[in-house]
C-alpha cells in the first residue's frame, strides 16, 4: 500500500559552531531533531526503512550559509507547526529561516 507523503521545504541557516559539521553529520542531526519533535515522519518503504529527507546543494565544512532541506510527513503539516515543533530541537547554529 502506498502511503501518502506531504513535503515541506525548509531553508536552514548554518553558522557558529555548526559550520564544523559535515553534510553527513547534518543528516543525523536533523533526523534526531525531527524524532525528538515527535513529528509524523514519513519512512522510506524499502527493506530497511529510514527517515526520508532531501537536500539541496551542500555547504562545505567550515562555511556558514543557507541549506535547503525537504522534510516528508505522513500527515498534512503546516509550515508554522513544523517551525514551532522543530526549532526548540535544533542545536545552536542551525536556525530555520523559512518553510514552505
Amino acid at each position: 500500500m502506498q502511503i501518502e507523503k506531504f513535503a515541506l521545504k525548509a531553508t536552514i541557516e548554518k553558522n557558529q559552531d555548526m559550520v564544523y559539521f559535515s553534510q553527513l553529520d547534518l543528516v543525523s542531526i536533523l533526523i534526531r531533531a525531527l524524532k525528538r519533535a515527535e513529528l509524523p515522519l514519513y519512512y522510506t518503504q524499502g527493506f530497511r526503512p529510514h527517515v526520508k529527507l532531501s537536500f539541496g546543494k551542500a555547504l562545505k565544512v567550515g562555511a556558514a550559509g543557507l541549506e535547503e532541506v525537504t522534510f516528508y510527513f505522513t500527515q498534512k503539516t503546516l509550515p508554522r507547526e513544523l517551525c514551532e515543533k522543530l526549532s526548540p530541537q535544533m542545536p545552536r547554529g542551525l536556525t530555520i529561516v523559512e518553510i514552505k
Partner: protein
C-alpha cells in the same frame, strides 16, 4: 585559541552535543573526566557517561570532558604552547581541581599520560601540589600507582556522594586524600609502602587510618541506581553510534578466563518496567535511531522475551533499531532474533571461544554447539547475512587437535547456514581476578606456532573474514594488566621515549625500558602462586565471589 578549520575532524572538539551540560565554575568544584582515547571511542563508553551525568547532578560540581586529541591537534597545541582544554568551556586542563580517567583497558596507559602532559599537569603524583588525578576501571591499579593520587575500586555510582562531600569539606589535597582513603573503594597508593618479602607482596600503611585490605565497591540496588536519561547525543558519528540501555550488570556464568565477570559480580538485573522507562526517556531526549540492550550475557536476563515484547511494542512504529549484542546459543535464540528482526535487520554474534567441546567445558563456558546447528535452518530463514565468531587460543592444556578443529567447524558452519563468516581470534590473557589469574601464559614462540597452525586450517574457498592476533601485543597486554608498582617507571620511560601515538604497540620501546629498569616481565606472567601485585584487594566478602573461585 585554536582555529578549528585547521584541524582534522573539528567536530571532536566543539563540545556542543545535544544535552551537553555547561556550568559556570564560580562557586563550584570543577572536575574534568576523560576516557583516554579519541572522541569517537571515548563517547561510546557508558561508564564515562554515567560518571559525567552523576557528577553534574550535584549542583556545586561542574563536570566537563576531555578526550585524547588527534595527533594533528596535539602537535598544534605543543607548537603554540597551548594547553589541552575541556570540551564544554574550553578550560585548560590544569585549571580543574581534579581530573579523572576511566581506564577500561591497559593499552590506554600511554594516552592517559599524554592527556596529562598536553594539559600541563605533572605526570607523577608526587610532583603535583594541589591537583588531584584519579582513575578507575582496570582491575589492577599497581602499574599506574605512581601517576594517580587515588584509584577508585569498583562502581562509581556507589562512591560519588562521599567523593563530592569530601571535596566540599576539605580543600587541601592532603586532607582530601586522607579522608578518601578511610572509605571503602578509595585507594591512595602513596599511603602504602609495598615490598616483596619471601616472594610475597607486602603492604605497610603509611597513613594509619587508610583502609586495608581494600574492597571493591558495587551498586547494591541496580534497579534504582543512577542512569543518564538526558542522553548526550553527538552531532557526528561515533564508534558505537547507538544509545546503550543497561539491562543487567555482572554475569551469572563463571567462565574461567573472564575478567568482566570477576570485576562486576554480583549479578544484578533491572526490572522490565525500569528498562522501558529508561529506553523511552533516552529516545525522547536524544532521538537516537538505535538502542542497544547492554549486559554481559543478555540471554541470562530472567525474562528476555518479555523485555523484548515490551520494547517492541513501544518502538515498532518509530523506526528505532534494537540490538542485543550478547546472546547465548540455546533454544530461544531463533525466537529472540525473530523478534529483533521485526524491528531491524541484525547480525548474529557468537562467543564460541574454542571449536573443541572438551576444551570449552574446561573453560566453564556453557555453550552447546549442536544447538547452533540445530538452529541453522531457523537462522537461514531469518534473512541474516553474517555471523560473527569470537575464538580464543593459547589456553593451557590446549592441543594441536583442539586448534585444528577450528577449520572443520568453520567449514560446517558455512555449509549449514550459508552465512558469510567473520572470525575474530584472540590470545588468552590471564587477567587479574579472573578464575585463571594464576595460569601461566605461553612463550611468544609457542603462541606464534599456534597462530600459524590455526591459519593453516581455515578453509580458503569461503572468503572468511579473519582478525588474527599478534603474540607480542597480547603479551604486552598481560604485562600491563599484571605488573606491580615497579612497572610505573617502565611506563614513564616508554612515554618519554615516544613522541608519536603509534608506540603503544612498539615492543622494542617496552623491551628497552624494562631492560633499563631491571625488570624481567616473565615474573609477571609465570606467577604460579596465589600472591599477586593486586592481592591487597580482597573481594571475598562480595556475594557471588565464592562460586567463581576454585578454592
Amino acid at each position: 585559541m585554536i582555529d578549528f578549520n585547521q584541524v582534522k575532524k573539528p567536530q571532536r572538539y566543539i563540545g556542543n552535543e545535544w544535552n551537553v551540560i555547561k556550568k559556570s565554575h564560580h562557586g563550584k568544584i570543577p572536575i574534568c573526566v576523560s576516557y583516554p582515547d579519541l572522541y569517537e571511542v571515548g563517547m561510546s563508553n557508558l561508564g564515562l557517561r554515567i560518571i559525567y551525568g552523576l557528577l553534574n547532578d550535584f549542583e556545586d560540581v561542574a563536570c566537563e570532558r576531555v578526550f585524547l586529541p588527534g595527533e594533528d591537534l596535539a602537535a598544534n597545541l605543543s607548537a603554540n604552547n597551548l594547553k589541552l582544554f575541556s570540551l564544554e568551556t574550553k578550560t585548560a586542563l590544569d585549571e580543574f581541581e581534579a581530573v579523572g580517567f576511566n581506564l577500561s583497558c591497559e593499552i590506554n596507559f600511554l594516552n592517559f599520560l599524554r592527556i596529562l602532559r598536553l594539559g600541563a599537569i605533572p605526570i607523577k603524583a608526587s610532583e603535583r601540589k594541589e591537583k588531584i588525578v584519579f582513575a578507575g576501571g582496570i582491575a589492577n591499579p599497581e602499574p599506574i600507582a605512581e601517576f594517580v593520587d587515588f584509584f577508585y575500586l569498583g562502581e562509581f555510582e556507589e562512591g560519588a556522594t562521599k567523593f563530592v562531600e569530601i571535596f566540599r569539606k576539605y580543600k587541601s589535597k592532603k586532607e582530601r586524600l586522607c579522608a578518601l582513603s578511610e572509605i571503602d573503594g578509595f585507594y591512595v597508593p602513596s599511603f602504602y609502602d609495598v615490598s616483596i618479602y619471601k616472594n610475597k607482596y607486602q603492604f605497610d600503611k603509611l597513613y594509619k587510618y587508610a583502609q586495608f585490605p581494600l574492597k571493591r565497591v558495587y551498586v547494591k540496588d541496580l534497579d534504582k541506581s543512577y542512569y543518564p536519561l538526558n542522553w548526550l547525543t553527538p552531532h557526528t558519528q561515533i564508534i558505537h553510534d547507538r544509545a546503550p540501555i543497561e539491562i543487567a550488570r555482572g554475569c551469572p556464568n563463571a567462565c574461567v578466563f573472564c575478567q568482566a565477570r570477576a570485576i562486576y559480580y554480583p549479578y544484578r538485573e533491572k526490572k522490565i518496567s525500569t528498562i522501558c522507562d529508561i529506553a523511552k526517556n533516552i529516545y525522547k531526549n536524544s532521538g537516537y535511531e538505535n538502542l542497544s540492550l547492554l549486559s554481559l550475557s543478555a540471554s541470562d536476563y530472567s525474562n528476555i522475551e518479555g523485555l523484548l515484547d515490551a520494547l517492541i511494542a513501544e518502538f515498532k512504529d518509530k523506526c528505532v533499531g534494537l540490538s542485543l549484542p550478547s546472546l547465548r546459543i540455546d533454544g530461544t535464540l531463533a525466537e529472540l532474533y525473530r523478534k529483533l528482526l521485526y524491528l531491524r535487520k541484525t547480525s548474529l554474534t557468537v562467543a564460541l571461544e574454542t571449536a573443541s567441546d572438551s576444551l570449552r567445558s574446561k573453560l566453564g563456558k556453557k555453550l552447546d554447539v549442536n544447538r547452533l546447528f540445530e538452529a541453522a535452518k531457523i537462522i537461514k530463514s531469518l534473512n541474516l547475512r553474517t555471523i560473527k565468531l569470537y575464538l580464543m587460543i593459547g589456553f593451557p592444556e590446549e592441543t594441536d587437535e583442539d586448534l585444528l578443529l577450528i577449520g572443520a567447524f568453520l567449514e560446517r558452519l558455512r555449509r549449514e547456514t550459508g552465512l558469510s563468516i567473520n572470525v575474530s581470534i584472540n590470545i588468552f590473557v590471564p587477567k587479574p581476578f579472573s578464575i585463571w589469574e594464576n595460569v601461566w601464559m605461553p612463550e611468544e614462540e609457542i603462541l606464534e606456532k599456534k597462530i600459524k597452525l590455526v591459519l593453516s586450517c581455515i578453509p580458503k574457498r569461503y572468503n572468511i573474514n579473519l582478525t588474527v592476533p599478534q603474540a607480542k601485543r597480547s603479551i604486552l597486554e598481560a604485562i600491563l594488566s599484571r605488573a606491580d608498582r615497579n612497572f610505573s617507571a617502565v611506563i614513564f620511560d616508554v612515554f618519554n621515549a615516544s613522541p608519536g601515538y603509534e608506540t603503544g604497540n612498539n615492543w622494542q620501546a617496552w623491551h628497552d625500558a624494562m631492560h633499563k629498569n631491571g625488570i624481567n616481565y616473565k615474573t609477571y606472567l609465570q606467577n604460579g602462586n596465589k600472591n599477586f601485585p593486586w592481592s591487597f584487594i580482597d573481594n571475598s566478602q562480595i556475594p557471588g565471589c565464592k562460586n567463581c573461585r576454585e578454592d
